[in-house]
Symmetry: C2
Subunit: 243 residues, 2 copies
Amino acid sequence: MANPTAAMLVIGDEILSGRTRDANMHHLAGQLTEAGIDLKEVRVVSDDRDAIIAATRALSKAYTHVFTSGGIGPTHDDITADCIAAAFDAPIDIRDDARALLQAHYDRQGTTLNAARLRMARIPDGAALIDNPVSVAPGFRIENVYVMAGVPSVFQAMVASVLPTLKGGAPLVSTSTRIERGEGDIAGPLTDLAARFSDLSFGSYPYIKNGVFGSNIVIRGADKSTVDTATRALIAVFADAVK
Amino acid sequence: MANPTAAMLVIGDEILSGRTRDANMHHLAGQLTEAGIDLKEVRVVSDDRDAIIAATRALSKAYTHVFTSGGIGPTHDDITADCIAAAFDAPIDIRDDARALLQAHYDRQGTTLNAARLRMARIPDGAALIDNPVSVAPGFRIENVYVMAGVPSVFQAMVASVLPTLKGGAPLVSTSTRIERGEGDIAGPLTDLAARFSDLSFGSYPYIKNGVFGSNIVIRGADKSTVDTATRALIAVFADAVK
C-alpha cells in the first residue's frame, strides 16, 4: 500500500524577499520521512490573502495532509488563520478555549491580554487546537490542514504535537554513498543498477568540492536487505572512488 | 508601475525527503529583490514528470519569469529538460550547439563524451542556452522559463548569467529594527504606523532567543526618506527595547 502523502505551505514575505532563510521545510521533510509519510510538494507564498486561500484549497484536495507555517502571530500581517478559514468557508472569531489558554498564560506572566494578543485566539469553528508548549498561542487543524507557527522553535514543537496523531506508512530505508567521480561516469552503471533493482529508487545528488566533481548516490527502499545488496553492488563498481 | 514578478520551481526528491537543505531559493530570493523583481511564489516538487509539467505551466502563466533548479544532469533521474519541453509542446533532442560546448570541454579534459554526458545536450527546439562557467553543461531559456542546475555553485553562476538580461523594477529600500519586546506589545503601535505610512510595507518577524521574545520589524518602500522617517518613528515608540 502506498504511503500517505503530504504537502507543506510556507507563508511569508520574509522568505520570498531573501531576508530569512527558511528552516521549517527541512525540519518537516526529515520528520515526515521518518514517519513514513511522503512529502510531495512544498509551496511558499507571500502574505497575500488570495494566494494563501488558493494554495490551501489546491494542496488540501491533492494530498492526505497539509502543513502550514507562518502568519499566526498577533501583528497586522498575520492573516493565515483568517485565510485558512476562508479556504474552507468556515466562520472564524475569537474562541473561548484559545482565549482561556492565552489568558492563563499572560496572567501567570503578569502581561495584559491586549487586542493584538487576542488575535491569536482567532480559531475557525470546528477546528481542533494544536498544542504550543513554547509560547502557548495554539495552532489548529481544520479538515486535513495543520496550521502552525513560523518561528522555528514553535513550529518544531507543534510538529512534535501533531506527528504522533498521524498514521504513517512504511518508513523507507536508505543508504548514501559518496563517489568521487563525475556524474557522467556514474550514470551508465547507475542506470543498470536501477533496472536490476526495480523495487528501489536511485538518486544521484552531484556536488563540486574544491574543484573535484562527485556525487552522493542515495538508494531507497522498503526492504533493508535489498537496499544493502544494491549498495554493495554500487560500491563494487566504483570501489576506488568511494569516499 | 508594478515590478516584474517571478516564481521559482525547485525540482528534487532530495529536498522533499529532508536529505538536502535547499540553498538555491534563498540565493535567488536575495538576487531578485536586489534586481527589483518580486519573487511571489516558490514550489518544490519531486522528480515526477506530471508534477513538473503541471507546475511549469501554472507558474509560467501566472508570473513574468520562472526560474527552475535541479534535474538537468546526466543521470536517469534528471528529467527536467524533457519535462519543460513537454510543458511547452516543444520537440527536444541532442542539440548541436550544446553538444559542441560539451565536446570541447571534455576534449580539453581528456574525458569521453559518453551517452550519459550527451544527455546534458538535450535542449528543446527554440530554447536559448544559459552559460555555465563552472561545469560547462548549459541551462536554457524557453518562453519565460529559465532552466538551471541544482548544484548551488552552478545555479549561482547561471543566475549571474541570466539576471543582467532581465528588466528589473524599482528595488525596494528597507530597514530592519530589532525590538526586544513580545509581538503582542509591538502589534498595536505597528498597526498605527502602517496606517500612517500607507505607501510602505511593515513586516514583523518574531524570534525567541535564550527565552526572550522579540521581533525584527522590516519597513520597505520605494522612497528612502519615507522609509527612514517611518523607521525613526518606530524607534521613538520602542526606544528602550531597540537592540
